[in-house]
Symmetry: C2
Subunit: 211 residues, 2 copies
Amino acid sequence: MVTKEQLKEKLKLYVILDRKLGNGVPLKQQAQLAIAGGATAIQLRDKEMKGRDYYQAALVIRDVCRENNVLFIVNDRLDVALAAEADGVHLGQEDLPLHAAKKLAPPGFIIGISAVNVEQARLAEKGGADYLGVGDVFGTASKPDAKLTGVDMLKMICQSTSLPCVAIGGINVNNAKIVLDAGAIGIAVISAVVSQKDITGAAKALRELIP
Amino acid sequence: MVTKEQLKEKLKLYVILDRKLGNGVPLKQQAQLAIAGGATAIQLRDKEMKGRDYYQAALVIRDVCRENNVLFIVNDRLDVALAAEADGVHLGQEDLPLHAAKKLAPPGFIIGISAVNVEQARLAEKGGADYLGVGDVFGTASKPDAKLTGVDMLKMICQSTSLPCVAIGGINVNNAKIVLDAGAIGIAVISAVVSQKDITGAAKALRELIP
Protein backbone atom coordinates (compact mmCIF):
# COMPACT_ATOMS: atom_id res chain seq x y z
CA MET A 1 0.00 0.00 0.00
CA VAL A 2 1.40 3.33 -1.12
CA THR A 3 0.68 6.45 0.98
CA LYS A 4 -0.14 9.75 -0.69
CA GLU A 5 3.31 11.10 0.10
CA GLN A 6 4.99 7.96 -1.24
CA LEU A 7 2.88 8.17 -4.39
CA LYS A 8 4.16 11.69 -5.08
CA GLU A 9 7.73 10.43 -4.83
CA LYS A 10 6.93 7.52 -7.12
CA LEU A 11 5.37 9.70 -9.80
CA LYS A 12 8.42 11.88 -10.38
CA LEU A 13 9.79 10.18 -13.47
CA TYR A 14 7.04 8.14 -15.03
CA VAL A 15 8.27 6.24 -18.08
CA ILE A 16 5.74 4.76 -20.48
CA LEU A 17 7.01 1.78 -22.44
CA ASP A 18 6.30 1.54 -26.15
CA ARG A 19 6.94 -1.31 -28.57
CA LYS A 20 6.95 0.91 -31.63
CA LEU A 21 8.84 3.92 -30.29
CA GLY A 22 11.39 1.73 -28.53
CA ASN A 23 13.43 1.10 -31.69
CA GLY A 24 13.19 -2.64 -31.27
CA VAL A 25 14.30 -2.72 -27.64
CA PRO A 26 12.07 -5.28 -25.88
CA LEU A 27 9.65 -3.87 -23.30
CA LYS A 28 11.39 -5.62 -20.41
CA GLN A 29 14.71 -4.09 -21.39
CA GLN A 30 13.13 -0.66 -21.85
CA ALA A 31 11.89 -0.92 -18.27
CA GLN A 32 15.20 -2.15 -16.90
CA LEU A 33 17.21 0.56 -18.65
CA ALA A 34 14.80 3.33 -17.65
CA ILE A 35 14.81 2.17 -14.03
CA ALA A 36 18.61 2.09 -14.06
CA GLY A 37 18.44 5.77 -15.00
CA GLY A 38 16.07 6.64 -12.18
CA ALA A 39 12.54 6.03 -13.46
CA THR A 40 10.23 5.97 -10.43
CA ALA A 41 7.19 4.60 -12.26
CA ILE A 42 6.70 2.44 -15.34
CA GLN A 43 3.55 2.24 -17.39
CA LEU A 44 2.75 -0.55 -19.82
CA ARG A 45 0.69 0.82 -22.68
CA ASP A 46 -0.24 -0.94 -25.88
CA LYS A 47 -3.52 -0.44 -27.65
CA GLU A 48 -2.92 -3.23 -30.16
CA MET A 49 -1.77 -6.15 -28.06
CA LYS A 50 -4.39 -8.80 -27.46
CA GLY A 51 -5.41 -9.46 -23.88
CA ARG A 52 -3.22 -12.53 -23.43
CA ASP A 53 -0.06 -10.87 -24.72
CA TYR A 54 -0.80 -7.75 -22.70
CA TYR A 55 -1.24 -9.85 -19.57
CA GLN A 56 1.98 -11.77 -20.21
CA ALA A 57 3.88 -8.52 -20.80
CA ALA A 58 2.38 -7.08 -17.63
CA LEU A 59 3.65 -10.03 -15.57
CA VAL A 60 7.18 -9.52 -16.88
CA ILE A 61 7.24 -5.75 -16.31
CA ARG A 62 5.60 -6.13 -12.90
CA ASP A 63 8.45 -8.35 -11.77
CA VAL A 64 11.07 -5.87 -12.99
CA CYS A 65 9.28 -3.05 -11.16
CA ARG A 66 8.82 -5.02 -7.94
CA GLU A 67 12.47 -5.99 -7.83
CA ASN A 68 13.37 -2.33 -8.07
CA ASN A 69 10.60 -0.91 -5.87
CA VAL A 70 9.24 1.07 -8.81
CA LEU A 71 5.55 1.77 -9.33
CA PHE A 72 3.94 -0.32 -12.06
CA ILE A 73 0.85 0.94 -13.85
CA VAL A 74 -1.08 -0.70 -16.70
CA ASN A 75 -2.81 1.50 -19.23
CA ASP A 76 -6.52 1.05 -20.01
CA ARG A 77 -7.11 -2.62 -19.19
CA LEU A 78 -8.18 -2.81 -15.57
CA ASP A 79 -8.68 -6.56 -15.83
CA VAL A 80 -5.07 -7.03 -16.96
CA ALA A 81 -3.82 -4.67 -14.27
CA LEU A 82 -5.68 -6.56 -11.56
CA ALA A 83 -4.87 -10.04 -12.82
CA ALA A 84 -1.18 -9.17 -13.16
CA GLU A 85 -1.20 -7.54 -9.73
CA ALA A 86 0.04 -4.20 -11.00
CA ASP A 87 0.11 -1.30 -8.56
CA GLY A 88 -2.53 0.47 -10.55
CA VAL A 89 -4.24 1.36 -13.80
CA HIS A 90 -4.22 4.50 -15.89
CA LEU A 91 -7.53 5.40 -17.52
CA GLY A 92 -8.07 7.92 -20.29
CA GLN A 93 -11.34 9.72 -20.83
CA GLU A 94 -12.35 7.10 -23.41
CA ASP A 95 -11.49 4.16 -21.16
CA LEU A 96 -13.61 2.50 -18.49
CA PRO A 97 -15.20 5.26 -16.36
CA LEU A 98 -13.63 5.91 -12.97
CA HIS A 99 -16.74 4.95 -11.00
CA ALA A 100 -16.87 1.61 -12.80
CA ALA A 101 -13.18 0.98 -12.15
CA LYS A 102 -13.55 1.91 -8.48
CA LYS A 103 -16.16 -0.83 -8.09
CA LEU A 104 -13.63 -3.48 -9.12
CA ALA A 105 -10.38 -2.12 -7.67
CA PRO A 106 -9.31 -3.33 -4.22
CA PRO A 107 -8.28 -0.81 -1.54
CA GLY A 108 -4.89 0.70 -2.23
CA PHE A 109 -5.01 -0.01 -5.94
CA ILE A 110 -3.94 3.17 -7.72
CA ILE A 111 -6.13 4.74 -10.39
CA GLY A 112 -4.70 7.50 -12.56
CA ILE A 113 -6.94 9.57 -14.79
CA SER A 114 -6.08 11.65 -17.86
CA ALA A 115 -7.32 15.22 -17.61
CA VAL A 116 -7.11 18.05 -20.11
CA ASN A 117 -9.23 20.60 -18.26
CA VAL A 118 -10.29 21.67 -14.78
CA GLU A 119 -13.66 19.95 -15.02
CA GLN A 120 -12.11 16.58 -15.81
CA ALA A 121 -9.66 17.10 -12.93
CA ARG A 122 -12.51 17.98 -10.55
CA LEU A 123 -14.54 14.91 -11.55
CA ALA A 124 -11.50 12.66 -11.21
CA GLU A 125 -10.74 13.98 -7.72
CA LYS A 126 -14.38 13.71 -6.67
CA GLY A 127 -14.52 10.18 -8.07
CA GLY A 128 -11.55 9.04 -6.02
CA ALA A 129 -8.68 9.08 -8.51
CA ASP A 130 -5.17 8.91 -7.06
CA TYR A 131 -3.32 11.04 -9.57
CA LEU A 132 -3.84 12.94 -12.79
CA GLY A 133 -2.00 12.65 -16.08
CA VAL A 134 -2.21 16.10 -17.65
CA GLY A 135 -1.49 16.70 -21.29
CA ASP A 136 -0.61 16.51 -24.12
CA VAL A 137 1.30 19.60 -22.92
CA PHE A 138 3.75 20.23 -25.75
CA GLY A 139 2.77 17.82 -28.52
CA THR A 140 4.19 14.38 -28.96
CA ALA A 141 5.24 11.88 -31.57
CA SER A 142 3.31 9.05 -29.94
CA LYS A 143 -0.05 10.83 -30.28
CA PRO A 144 0.29 13.03 -33.36
CA ASP A 145 -3.43 13.83 -33.48
CA ALA A 146 -3.77 14.93 -29.87
CA LYS A 147 -4.99 18.43 -29.08
CA LEU A 148 -2.43 20.34 -27.02
CA THR A 149 -3.25 21.14 -23.42
CA GLY A 150 -0.54 23.74 -22.97
CA VAL A 151 1.33 25.00 -19.94
CA ASP A 152 -1.32 27.54 -18.87
CA MET A 153 -3.98 24.84 -18.66
CA LEU A 154 -1.56 22.52 -16.86
CA LYS A 155 -1.04 25.26 -14.27
CA MET A 156 -4.78 25.83 -13.88
CA ILE A 157 -5.38 22.12 -13.41
CA CYS A 158 -2.55 21.76 -10.87
CA GLN A 159 -3.92 24.70 -8.89
CA SER A 160 -7.47 23.36 -9.01
CA THR A 161 -6.79 19.96 -7.50
CA SER A 162 -5.21 18.35 -4.48
CA LEU A 163 -4.28 15.33 -6.58
CA PRO A 164 -0.68 14.97 -7.72
CA CYS A 165 -0.39 15.95 -11.38
CA VAL A 166 2.00 14.30 -13.80
CA ALA A 167 2.60 16.29 -16.97
CA ILE A 168 2.73 14.37 -20.25
CA GLY A 169 3.33 15.13 -23.91
CA GLY A 170 6.52 16.26 -25.57
CA ILE A 171 8.44 16.73 -22.34
CA ASN A 172 12.22 16.59 -22.53
CA VAL A 173 15.29 17.99 -20.77
CA ASN A 174 14.74 21.40 -22.34
CA ASN A 175 11.19 21.97 -21.11
CA ALA A 176 10.83 19.76 -18.02
CA LYS A 177 11.45 22.72 -15.69
CA ILE A 178 8.52 24.58 -17.27
CA VAL A 179 5.97 21.89 -16.34
CA LEU A 180 7.43 21.44 -12.86
CA ASP A 181 7.24 25.19 -12.29
CA ALA A 182 3.63 25.04 -13.46
CA GLY A 183 2.84 22.69 -10.60
CA ALA A 184 3.39 19.18 -11.94
CA ILE A 185 4.99 16.93 -9.33
CA GLY A 186 6.34 14.63 -12.00
CA ILE A 187 6.75 14.09 -15.69
CA ALA A 188 5.61 11.24 -17.89
CA VAL A 189 7.63 10.48 -20.98
CA ILE A 190 7.74 7.95 -23.77
CA SER A 191 10.02 8.92 -26.62
CA ALA A 192 12.24 11.19 -24.53
CA VAL A 193 13.40 8.00 -22.80
CA VAL A 194 12.54 4.82 -24.69
CA SER A 195 13.34 6.20 -28.17
CA GLN A 196 16.80 7.34 -27.11
CA LYS A 197 19.89 5.36 -27.94
CA ASP A 198 21.00 5.61 -24.30
CA ILE A 199 17.74 4.95 -22.46
CA THR A 200 19.42 4.94 -19.06
CA GLY A 201 21.29 8.18 -19.73
CA ALA A 202 18.13 9.85 -21.02
CA ALA A 203 16.21 8.85 -17.92
CA LYS A 204 19.04 10.01 -15.68
CA ALA A 205 19.23 13.43 -17.34
CA LEU A 206 15.50 13.92 -16.81
CA ARG A 207 15.51 12.56 -13.26
CA GLU A 208 18.16 15.08 -12.24
CA LEU A 209 15.86 17.93 -13.21
CA ILE A 210 13.10 16.81 -10.84
CA PRO A 211 13.49 17.96 -7.22
CA MET B 1 -26.70 -17.67 -9.90
CA VAL B 2 -27.26 -20.03 -12.82
CA THR B 3 -27.09 -23.78 -12.22
CA LYS B 4 -25.41 -26.08 -14.74
CA GLU B 5 -28.77 -27.32 -15.98
CA GLN B 6 -30.07 -23.76 -16.33
CA LEU B 7 -26.93 -22.75 -18.17
CA LYS B 8 -27.52 -25.47 -20.78
CA GLU B 9 -31.01 -24.14 -21.36
CA LYS B 10 -29.69 -20.60 -21.65
CA LEU B 11 -27.04 -21.50 -24.20
CA LYS B 12 -29.45 -22.91 -26.79
CA LEU B 13 -29.67 -19.90 -29.07
CA TYR B 14 -26.74 -17.64 -28.38
CA VAL B 15 -26.89 -14.49 -30.49
CA ILE B 16 -23.78 -12.34 -30.83
CA LEU B 17 -24.50 -8.70 -31.58
CA ASP B 18 -22.46 -6.91 -34.22
CA ARG B 19 -22.39 -3.24 -35.16
CA LYS B 20 -21.06 -3.87 -38.65
CA LEU B 21 -23.01 -6.98 -39.59
CA GLY B 22 -26.22 -5.55 -38.14
CA ASN B 23 -26.98 -3.40 -41.22
CA GLY B 24 -27.24 -0.27 -39.13
CA VAL B 25 -29.64 -1.72 -36.58
CA PRO B 26 -28.48 -0.42 -33.16
CA LEU B 27 -27.10 -3.04 -30.77
CA LYS B 28 -29.95 -2.60 -28.30
CA GLN B 29 -32.51 -3.21 -31.02
CA GLN B 30 -30.56 -6.22 -32.33
CA ALA B 31 -30.80 -7.69 -28.82
CA GLN B 32 -34.49 -6.89 -28.43
CA LEU B 33 -35.43 -8.34 -31.81
CA ALA B 34 -33.33 -11.47 -31.30
CA ILE B 35 -34.82 -12.05 -27.86
CA ALA B 36 -38.32 -11.59 -29.28
CA GLY B 37 -37.48 -14.46 -31.61
CA GLY B 38 -36.28 -16.73 -28.82
CA ALA B 39 -32.58 -15.95 -28.25
CA THR B 40 -31.63 -17.45 -24.90
CA ALA B 41 -28.25 -15.70 -24.61
CA ILE B 42 -26.84 -12.46 -25.98
CA GLN B 43 -23.16 -11.67 -26.36
CA LEU B 44 -21.76 -8.18 -26.79
CA ARG B 45 -18.66 -8.33 -28.95
CA ASP B 46 -16.77 -5.42 -30.41
CA LYS B 47 -13.02 -5.39 -30.84
CA GLU B 48 -12.87 -1.74 -31.87
CA MET B 49 -15.00 0.05 -29.29
CA LYS B 50 -13.05 1.91 -26.64
CA GLY B 51 -13.53 0.83 -23.04
CA ARG B 52 -16.01 3.56 -22.15
CA ASP B 53 -18.28 2.93 -25.15
CA TYR B 54 -18.07 -0.81 -24.61
CA TYR B 55 -19.04 -0.38 -20.96
CA GLN B 56 -21.95 1.92 -21.84
CA ALA B 57 -23.17 -0.53 -24.50
CA ALA B 58 -22.85 -3.36 -21.99
CA LEU B 59 -25.08 -1.53 -19.49
CA VAL B 60 -27.78 -1.07 -22.11
CA ILE B 61 -27.71 -4.67 -23.33
CA ARG B 62 -27.51 -5.99 -19.79
CA ASP B 63 -30.78 -4.24 -18.95
CA VAL B 64 -32.49 -5.67 -22.03
CA CYS B 65 -31.30 -9.16 -21.12
CA ARG B 66 -32.27 -8.88 -17.46
CA GLU B 67 -35.77 -7.72 -18.32
CA ASN B 68 -36.15 -10.80 -20.49
CA ASN B 69 -34.33 -13.30 -18.29
CA VAL B 70 -31.77 -13.89 -21.04
CA LEU B 71 -28.10 -14.63 -20.36
CA PHE B 72 -25.78 -11.70 -21.04
CA ILE B 73 -22.13 -12.33 -21.89
CA VAL B 74 -19.43 -9.76 -22.74
CA ASN B 75 -16.67 -10.78 -25.12
CA ASP B 76 -13.00 -10.38 -24.15
CA ARG B 77 -13.10 -7.51 -21.64
CA LEU B 78 -13.52 -9.06 -18.20
CA ASP B 79 -13.31 -5.62 -16.56
CA VAL B 80 -16.23 -4.38 -18.65
CA ALA B 81 -18.19 -7.57 -17.98
CA LEU B 82 -17.67 -7.27 -14.23
CA ALA B 83 -18.27 -3.51 -14.01
CA ALA B 84 -21.44 -3.80 -16.09
CA GLU B 85 -22.57 -6.78 -14.00
CA ALA B 86 -22.94 -9.07 -16.99
CA ASP B 87 -23.67 -12.73 -16.31
CA GLY B 88 -20.30 -13.67 -17.71
CA VAL B 89 -17.43 -13.18 -20.10
CA HIS B 90 -16.35 -15.06 -23.20
CA LEU B 91 -12.61 -15.46 -23.67
CA GLY B 92 -10.83 -16.49 -26.83
CA GLN B 93 -7.45 -18.19 -26.86
CA GLU B 94 -5.79 -14.80 -27.38
CA ASP B 95 -7.70 -13.09 -24.57
CA LEU B 96 -6.91 -13.00 -20.87
CA PRO B 97 -6.00 -16.56 -19.77
CA LEU B 98 -8.68 -18.49 -17.90
CA HIS B 99 -6.66 -18.81 -14.70
CA ALA B 100 -6.15 -15.02 -14.61
CA ALA B 101 -9.84 -14.41 -15.22
CA LYS B 102 -10.81 -16.90 -12.51
CA LYS B 103 -8.81 -14.87 -9.99
CA LEU B 104 -10.99 -11.82 -10.61
CA ALA B 105 -14.40 -13.37 -11.26
CA PRO B 106 -16.81 -13.73 -8.34
CA PRO B 107 -18.54 -17.08 -7.67
CA GLY B 108 -21.28 -17.80 -10.19
CA PHE B 109 -19.82 -15.52 -12.83
CA ILE B 110 -19.85 -17.48 -16.09
CA ILE B 111 -16.68 -17.89 -18.12
CA GLY B 112 -16.91 -19.25 -21.65
CA ILE B 113 -13.81 -20.32 -23.53
CA SER B 114 -13.25 -20.72 -27.26
CA ALA B 115 -11.89 -24.14 -28.18
CA VAL B 116 -10.89 -25.54 -31.56
CA ASN B 117 -9.40 -28.83 -30.38
CA VAL B 118 -9.63 -31.41 -27.63
CA GLU B 119 -6.59 -30.09 -25.78
CA GLN B 120 -8.04 -26.59 -25.51
CA ALA B 121 -11.32 -28.09 -24.33
CA ARG B 122 -9.51 -30.19 -21.72
CA LEU B 123 -7.56 -27.21 -20.39
CA ALA B 124 -10.70 -25.06 -20.27
CA GLU B 125 -12.59 -27.72 -18.31
CA LYS B 126 -9.66 -28.28 -15.97
CA GLY B 127 -9.34 -24.52 -15.47
CA GLY B 128 -12.94 -24.14 -14.42
CA ALA B 129 -14.64 -22.81 -17.54
CA ASP B 130 -18.43 -22.98 -17.62
CA TYR B 131 -19.00 -23.60 -21.30
CA LEU B 132 -17.11 -23.91 -24.57
CA GLY B 133 -17.59 -22.02 -27.80
CA VAL B 134 -16.49 -24.43 -30.52
CA GLY B 135 -15.76 -23.27 -34.04
CA ASP B 136 -15.49 -21.79 -36.59
CA VAL B 137 -17.42 -24.89 -37.71
CA PHE B 138 -18.55 -23.99 -41.22
CA GLY B 139 -16.82 -20.71 -42.04
CA THR B 140 -18.27 -17.31 -41.37
CA ALA B 141 -18.45 -13.82 -42.82
CA SER B 142 -17.53 -12.20 -39.50
CA LYS B 143 -14.16 -13.96 -39.28
CA PRO B 144 -13.10 -14.56 -42.89
CA ASP B 145 -9.55 -15.53 -41.92
CA ALA B 146 -10.51 -18.14 -39.33
CA LYS B 147 -9.41 -21.72 -39.80
CA LEU B 148 -12.35 -24.08 -39.95
CA THR B 149 -12.91 -26.46 -37.08
CA GLY B 150 -15.34 -28.72 -38.88
CA VAL B 151 -18.10 -31.03 -37.69
CA ASP B 152 -15.83 -34.00 -36.94
CA MET B 153 -13.69 -31.94 -34.56
CA LEU B 154 -16.83 -30.45 -32.99
CA LYS B 155 -18.03 -33.97 -32.31
CA MET B 156 -14.67 -35.01 -30.83
CA ILE B 157 -14.64 -31.97 -28.56
CA CYS B 158 -18.23 -32.51 -27.41
CA GLN B 159 -17.45 -36.14 -26.61
CA SER B 160 -14.27 -35.23 -24.75
CA THR B 161 -15.75 -32.80 -22.26
CA SER B 162 -18.51 -32.55 -19.70
CA LEU B 163 -18.83 -28.83 -20.42
CA PRO B 164 -21.76 -27.67 -22.54
CA CYS B 165 -20.55 -26.89 -26.07
CA VAL B 166 -21.99 -24.15 -28.22
CA ALA B 167 -21.16 -24.46 -31.90
CA ILE B 168 -20.23 -21.29 -33.76
CA GLY B 169 -19.32 -20.28 -37.29
CA GLY B 170 -21.54 -20.23 -40.34
CA ILE B 171 -24.49 -21.93 -38.66
CA ASN B 172 -27.92 -21.38 -40.18
CA VAL B 173 -31.28 -23.12 -40.53
CA ASN B 174 -29.86 -25.50 -43.10
CA ASN B 175 -27.00 -26.89 -41.03
CA ALA B 176 -28.04 -26.31 -37.39
CA LYS B 177 -29.22 -29.92 -37.04
CA ILE B 178 -25.75 -31.16 -38.03
CA VAL B 179 -24.00 -29.42 -35.13
CA LEU B 180 -26.71 -30.41 -32.66
CA ASP B 181 -26.41 -34.02 -33.79
CA ALA B 182 -22.65 -33.70 -33.31
CA GLY B 183 -23.23 -32.95 -29.63
CA ALA B 184 -23.53 -29.18 -29.37
CA ILE B 185 -26.20 -28.18 -26.86
CA GLY B 186 -26.65 -24.82 -28.51
CA ILE B 187 -25.67 -22.68 -31.46
CA ALA B 188 -24.05 -19.27 -31.55
CA VAL B 189 -24.81 -17.04 -34.49
CA ILE B 190 -24.09 -13.55 -35.67
CA SER B 191 -25.02 -12.93 -39.29
CA ALA B 192 -27.66 -15.69 -39.42
CA VAL B 193 -29.67 -13.50 -37.06
CA VAL B 194 -28.45 -9.89 -36.84
CA SER B 195 -27.73 -9.51 -40.58
CA GLN B 196 -31.22 -10.67 -41.54
CA LYS B 197 -33.95 -8.24 -42.50
CA ASP B 198 -36.32 -9.97 -40.07
CA ILE B 199 -34.09 -10.52 -37.04
CA THR B 200 -36.92 -11.86 -34.92
CA GLY B 201 -38.07 -14.25 -37.61
CA ALA B 202 -34.53 -15.49 -38.21
CA ALA B 203 -34.03 -16.14 -34.49
CA LYS B 204 -37.38 -17.89 -34.27
CA ALA B 205 -36.62 -20.19 -37.21
CA LEU B 206 -33.33 -21.22 -35.58
CA ARG B 207 -34.81 -21.59 -32.11
CA GLU B 208 -37.41 -24.04 -33.39
CA LEU B 209 -34.65 -26.36 -34.57
CA ILE B 210 -33.13 -26.68 -31.10
CA PRO B 211 -34.79 -29.26 -28.81
